[in-house]
């Protein structure tokens, strides 16, 4: 059992390193990725019983290279024979640039030519070392569907002729932003899935945290990378408290704060404290700072809303994102009263047309303002518009409770 878990952890770390070696040698990302998957599978079955080889990375490189040769042989008509040379190279000892190479892979998989729906599973497989089956289970689609999506993503990268190297110069900032966005989406997918009926879903948010940790270790001087890691930890810390015994959603103000993960909060706050003074504020740092303020309130009543209001104001100006405006309205209501919050919502109808969150916030503020009928109308409208079952139950429940008051 333990041996299996240890092996799994080791394989996840080695997966991108081994893949990078194969891609460097072969120049064929798509086939090398398939070969590495098969080598990982072989290791996952053999190592727990037979013991981990003394040079696990070399073992994986050898097996994957052999497998790559097989793949190419099967495809020989379209291949040049000299490509087979890749398999003749002796299994290399650990190469010094392995961490850098994992990064190159991450930047390759989170490439803007891929829509997030493709970049996410490709990243989880090629960099995270998850199997197609695990990813398919996590996203609740058939394995074959996921296999096709990953294969299409690899073809896309191949067709785009993206060089296997770190982006430089002007390209760097944009590419890093894409990488962070994909990691953020992976985290959100997993975090969202951990509420509600699908509790058996693979721990995708844990995987996002692991990858972001590795990225932060490699790029300690990029404040937004640290900001994103802090945001993930500070959000994940609340996970145990955000659902009730029947899987129902518990809003932040009503969560049992003793169930929050104090170690994660401490780590998130420490990361943020180290990075904020650098004055290279970005949206992840701001969101993390807001999460930290929530997490540090001893009770919901002790939440430092004026500070949250100021941070959402910054976020709104920085991103122009209507969701920031929406959240700022909540903070404003907590500081200056519900009418101020409601006034801040005007103008959002055209920017978030038909969005259930706008109705939900409006309902909440109307309830605060002592207008139960208005609140009921908007709770029900939000319930009709959300595509989340757990959220619909919550919103319908709010309306029902107001009706029976």
């Amino acid at each position: 059992m333990n041996a299996g878990a240890d092996v799994e952890g080791l394989l996840r770390v080695l997966a991108p390193q081994v893949l990078a070696v194969l891609v460097r040698r072969s120049g064929d990302f798509a086939d090398a990725e398939d070969a590495v998957q098969e080598a990982l599978l072989a290791a996952a079955t053999q190592w727990p019983d037979e013991g981990t080889p003394s040079n696990p990375r070399g073992w994986l490189v050898t097996v994957a290279a052999r497998r790559l040769t097989d793949i190419w042989r099967a495809d020989a008509a379209r291949r040049h024979r000299e490509d087979l040379a890749v398999a003749r190279e002796p299994a290399a000892p650990a190469e010094p640039s392995s961490m850098d190479d994992s990064l190159v892979l991450l930047f390759l998989c989170c490439h803007p030519v891929l829509a997030p729906g493709s970049a996410i599973p490709l990243t989880l497989r090629a960099v995270g070392g998850l199997s197609t089956s695990e990813i398919a289970t996590a996203f609740l689609v058939p394995e074959d569907t996921m296999a096709k999506r990953i294969s299409r993503a690899k073809q896309r990268i191949k067709a785009s002729d993206i060089p296997f190297r770190m982006p430089t110069g002007d390209e760097w900032t944009g590419r890093l932003r894409t990488v962070l966005h994909v990691l953020y989406l992976i985290f959100n997918e997993g975090y969202a899935a951990s509420a509600g009926p699908q509790v058996t879903r693979t721990d995708v948010s844990g995987e996002a945290i692991r990858l972001t940790r590795a990225l932060q270790r490699a790029l300690p001087d990029e404040p937004e990378v640290t900001g994103l890691l802090a945001l993930m930890l500070l959000t994940d810390a609340r996970r145990p408290a955000r659902t009730g015994p029947h899987g129902e959603l518990v809003p932040l103000a009503e969560q049992d704060r003793t169930r929050w993960d104090r170690a994660l909060i401490a780590e998130g706050v420490a990361l943020l404290t180290a990075v904020l003074p650098r004055r290279a504020i970005g949206e992840y740092q701001l969101q993390a700072a807001i999460a930290a303020i929530h997490d540090e309130g001893a009770t919901a009543e002790h939440t430092d809303w004026p500070q949250i209001l100021a941070l959402y104001g910054l976020l709104e100006r920085m991103t122009g994102n209507p969701m920031a405006t929406l959240n700022r309205a909540i903070a404003l209501a907590m500081v200056d009263g519900p009418h101020a919050g409601l006034a801040a919502l005007t103008g959002l109808d055209s920017r978030l047309p038909g969005h259930h969150r706008l109705d939900a916030v409006r309902a909440h503020l109307l309830e605060m303002a002592g207008d139960p009928n208005g609140a009921i109308t908007h709770y029900l409208r939000a319930a009709g518009r959300t595509t989340s079952l757990a959220e619909r139950d919550y919103l319908t429940g709010k309306a029902t409770r107001l009706r029976t008051l």
Binding site: P142, R149, A195, L389, A390
Partner: protein
């Protein structure tokens, strides 16, 4: 994002009245969309349902014997004929698939313009929670 894309029966223009060529080109059109969604890793499931004649409508109070109605023709146009369950990047893409399905050729090669229903499938709560 997951969607159910649904097509209903067309009692006014039953496919058995079409010429074989019309049926063939309609089928080829649908097959192409199906193939494209499969290769893109978007298709989760697709099924065709038997016709109104094979349909039973069941209602019960849980106590007495259920009331079973055989294929009800006046209501046939409300009946689902088939569906695609897809996982796509955006609502826009789901709509695009529906539009192409609606534009499938019918008798004489003219687009059927059949109304296609696109409905989101309920999902996990958004990350604000």
């Amino acid at each position: 994002m997951k969607y159910l894309i649904m097509m209903t029966h067309s009692p006014d223009d039953p496919v058995q009245d079409w010429t074989p060529d019309d049926v063939k080109s309609s089928w080829a059109h649908m097959q192409q969309i199906h193939q494209e969604m499969t290769e893109a890793g978007e298709l989760i499931a697709a099924e065709k349902l038997a016709g109104p004649e094979a349909t039973k409508i069941v209602a019960s109070d849980g106590v007495s014997a259920p009331v079973i109605t055989d294929g009800v023709y006046p209501e046939a146009k409300e009946l689902l004929a088939g569906f695609w369950m897809v996982d796509v990047d955006s609502e826009q893409r789901a709509i695009e698939i529906a539009a192409r399905t609606s534009a499938a050729p019918g008798p004489g090669g003219a687009p059927t313009r059949k109304p296609i229903v696109v409905r989101p499938i309920m999902d996990a709560p958004p990350p604000e929670w």
